[in-house]
Amino acid sequence: MDLALPALTVLVLAAPGFTFRQAYLRGLRGLPVRPRAFAEEVAMGLLVSALLHTIAVAAAKYLAGIEVDFLAVGRLLSSNYGSNGEFLAPTVAAVAGHRGKVFGYFTVVLAAAFGLGVIAHGLVRRSAGVRDVWLLGFRDDWHRLLTEGVFAQEANAGAPVSDVFAEVSAVVPMGKDDYVYRGVLLGPQNIRFDQNGELDRFILTAAARRKLSDDGNPDEQRFYEIKGDLFVLRYHETKTLNIRFLALVEESESEAEGAAAEKGDPEAATQADD
């Protein structure tokens, strides 16, 4: 009990800080993040916990008139109940006698920590400048690169682009040869990350492949379709990776009409007229 109770007390007191950190880093959608060093994360969690408890204790006193017995907390943390254990009974009474308030306090603080974490995540994620600050960064390099970074080209297009998909090309060594695999990534939900926030695999459709050495032969059919509905490309098996973001632009009636006329297809041209 001498070791377990102080450890349990530290764990309970630190829980709001770690809850805040997880909610802040991952948000509601569970952003795939690269974890920090254990000591670094513990230090941050404890610091946030101390801050949250400071605010919560003051709020409990002024809003609900609840006073925290810091002496009892200190005894629980240090496991010091006097030379003859004379302070054990008052300490137990301080917690057990107010178990409803203690439970309520931690429930509210944990819920607030989670809510504040999610709100802070949303605010920081919208601001690239703040997000690049080392201490505030989410460490979601791969996720950010593949789902957000490339959309800086909105500046080129001058307007948000929808109906986007990606063409993924990768060189995969197989035996003595290198093969180029190519496929379509329909959306970001088809990218998988591992528990360390690293890119793990793509789930592609319309997959095809060819030998890299066939590049120089102009007569060679460039790609051979791989029959199947889904193709899983594991990032760790690739040598190099290329991603091209494409969009579907619906042609206007006049464009469709022009294309039909170019093909010499009067029926299609009439349909376009209709």
Binding site: T147, V150, E154, F165, G187, F223, A247, L248, V249, E251
Partner: protein
């Protein structure tokens, strides 16, 4: 803005005939090739490189 799943993309590119067309025309495209145009239900969709698209094309993805 983050990349989001598009229902239209899933619907059009999910068709096996369109996928075969992509393999032949998009993957096999060389420099100076004609743009790839996909046809579905009487509508025509041009495949455009997002990095090179202009503002009018970007706006038309909203149609």
């Amino acid at each position: 803005m983050a990349w989001e799943e598009s229902k239209k993309v899933r619907e059009i590119l999910g068709k096996p005939t369109v996928q075969s067309q992509l393999v032949k025309e998009l993957y096999g495209a060389r420099k100076g090739s004609k743009p790839v145009v996909l046809e579905l239900s009487g509508r025509r969709y041009r495949v455009v490189d997002v990095q090179r698209m202009g503002s009018s094309e970007a706006a038309s993805t909203k149609r």
